[in-house]
Amino acid sequence: MNETVSGPRHKPLQLHVPEPGVRPGDAPDFSEFEIPRAGAVRRPGIDEAPEDMRDMAFSVVRVLNKAGEAVGPWAGRLTADDLRAGLRHMLTLRQFDERMLKAQRQGKTSFYVQNLGEEAVACAFRMALEDGDMNFPTYRQAGLLIAGGYPLTEMMNQIFSNGADPLKGRQLPVMYSARDHGFFTVSGNLGTQFIQAVGWAMASAIARDTRIAAAWIGDGSTSENDFHAAMVFASSYQAPVILNIVNNQWAISTFQGMARGGAVTFAARGHGFGIPAIRVDGNDYLAVHAVARWAAERARAGLGPTLIEHVTYRAGAHSTSDDPSAYRSKEECDAWPLGDPIDRLKRHLVTIGEWSEERHSQALAEITDAVRSAQKAAEANGTLITGPHPSPRAMFDDVYAEMPAHLVRQRQEAGY
């Protein structure tokens, strides 16, 4: 094909398709992941010029060291009570996931998405926001609700699509909505909410409000057009928004390198937009909280958006419809160098003399009991398999504020 008379003038081109290097059966390998010592990364002033802190996109802010100590310039902003609350939030989320996974296997609902291994990201982040701020989450930020004190039974009512489901049986499980808890309705379409968060933040600035927004997206979904729309809008209007990329390494079966391409890090995507970008150890509760608070302070001070890449690992399956053993090494999770967020925070609290194995066991028992009670209360309202469900009549409500005549006719035709 396309050869000149004198023969081929150029070597044929070849398509490059990125591959993770490690697939089932291979030995896990994180040797290319450069992890600085805890405490080693500097803490810029919130008003430092974006071009002067580009280094922050190529390192990883870490606070907890191997000995369980909080070290470096990002440490020291949480009290022991705050940390114990954080541990409880993460334990609650993990327990909640366990029970809901089991409930899904029992057929009590159709689908579930767990947060295993990523609990610190949403739980710590929520504590850096103020009431009134608005998150635009994906389906893997249930920690925002739990850390914000949203009732577990309400979450389960939604998961079971039962008679008390606040969303009236309309949404897939875990696509929560909780306006009063600063939790925007989860779409299920990927990336769409990223630009909406920027719009919300722009509105807050237009209204001369003091509230800020937080956008959430996964590593894979940064490929979506709406990610780039959000970045250019956030940058051009200097919107008071925190742009969170949760890099949990896997987008179902696709490794993060497919979305990242030739960029060294996801955080570096901020640089082309002049948005300060910072990478954080997503399994370090203290680091996530410190970085989130730094970004929130920037936003609230009118200094514009911040891009945060939370480096973490999706320890579980993508969803109950997924089996990761088909595409990634079973040992990879154990080899993940940033450890488990709950173990690390627990160790820290023990190290500083604010926690013990006994207290931990007791807390775990209390939490297990609380989650079990919440589930019992939710199941009393019904499950997907047993019902009762919201009335089919409710399907026709809220399509519009006022039901137009053609929908009234269809509802009547349907017999409701």
């Binding site: 769409t192 630009i195 968060a197 719009g199 807050s204 399509v399």
Partner: protein, 337 residues
């Protein structure tokens, strides 16, 4: 009262809405300092400041997505997509997000937003400045779809759309911006000042969404039309000397079934006209509704006059455009049928 073009009427609606409610914000490509490529937002930035009327990056998905976030916050964004032909990047935000927000959040979050876009051809705009994508919106539950045909309606419908609690797609037939084009492209342009519907109240008023208007009463047949085609159908009736009743739907969703059925039951004959491509166009919905509700009153099959199922051409624009001659032939068919 004042004589206004459709552009001036739309501008006046923006102005009044912004004046009485500071939650109304206006943005889009070139709408700020410059006032829009069709000048519909001229002067608004100067009057209300750049945080209430401003330019946007060239990213339709971003414009609509940001608007959704603003609406969720509690503002009332009115955004402009420069041409309806450019709305496709925003379609996911419109369909999956704006339209379903109230339903999926059980009313916790709503989307009070107007998405304006110039629609239709007849300006030698070729395939990227001439499309009529209304059926892509009428097919989506949760959206309202409005197509004004004159300055008086444009102002009242836009004010109603801005106050409507749900997302409204507001399609402005660009060929009507400066005059009531009747499809006789070889004749001199008629300005709005010579047309009774170019007379517009200075103050605020609304034209309710979901109410059609009878533009030309008649008894021989019913024409269902909207936007530019209302004027083309009226011209065809005059040219042919047919006592046609021309109904201007004004709002496609919700549609005014009462007015449609009352007219078709009276005349027993129906011609559906739109500029958009035929297959799965809104005319198919109208034909089905007429068949379902007026079958035993019909004296002849319903006839559709539409753009052809081709991309909108450039040099062959008038072969594509469903002009008065084609409508006249349709009249003949339903009257003889």
């Amino acid at each position: 009262m004042a004589r206004m073009t459709m552009i001036e009427a739309i501008r006046s609606a923006h102005d009044l809405a912004m004046e009485r409610d500071e939650r109304v914000v206006v943005f889009g490509e070139d709408v700020g300092y410059f006032g829009g490529v069709f000048r519909c937002t001229a002067g608004l930035q100067k009057k209300y400041g750049s945080s209430r009327c401003f330019d946007a990056p060239i990213n339709e998905s971003g414009i609509v997505g940001a608007g959704i976030g603003m609406a969720a916050y509690g503002l009332k964004p009115v955004v402009e997509i420069q041409f309806a032909d450019y709305m496709y990047p925003a379609y996911d935000q419109i369909v999956s997000e704006a339209a379903r927000m109230r339903h999926r959040s059980a009313g916790q979050f709503t989307c009070q937003m107007v998405i304006r876009m110039p629609t239709g051809g007849g300006i030698f705009g070729g395939q990227t400045h001439s499309q009529s994508p209304e059926a892509l919106f009428t097919h989506v539950s949760g959206l309202k779809v409005v197509v004004p045909s004159n300055p008086q309606d444009a102002k009242g419908l836009l004010l109603a759309a801005i106050e409507d609690p749900d997302p409204v797609i507001f399609l402005e037939p660009k060929r009507l911006y400066n005059g009531p084009f009747d499809g006789h492209h070889d004749r001199p342009v008629v300005p709005w000042k010579a047309h009774p519907l170019g007379e517009v109240e200075d103050g605020p008023y609304t034209v309710p969404l979901g109410k059609a208007a009878i533009r030309r009463p008649g008894s021989a047949l019913t024409v269902l039309a909207y936007g530019t085609m209302v004027h083309v159908a009226e011209a065809a009736a005059e040219d042919a000397g047919v006592d046609a009743e021309v109904i201007d739907l004004r709002t496609l969703i919700p549609y005014d079934l009462e007015t449609i059925t009352a007219s078709v039951k009276k005349t027993g004959r129906c011609v559906v006209v739109h500029e958009a491509t035929r297959t799965s166009g809104f005319g198919a919905e109208l034909s089905a509704l007429v068949q379902e509700t007026c079958f035993y009153h019909l004296e002849a099959p319903v006839v559709r006059v539409t753009g052809w199922d081709t991309p909108y051409p450039h040099a062959q624009e008038w072969a594509y455009f469903p002009g008065p001659d084609r409508i006249r032939r349709a009249f003949k068919a339903v009257l003889e049928g």
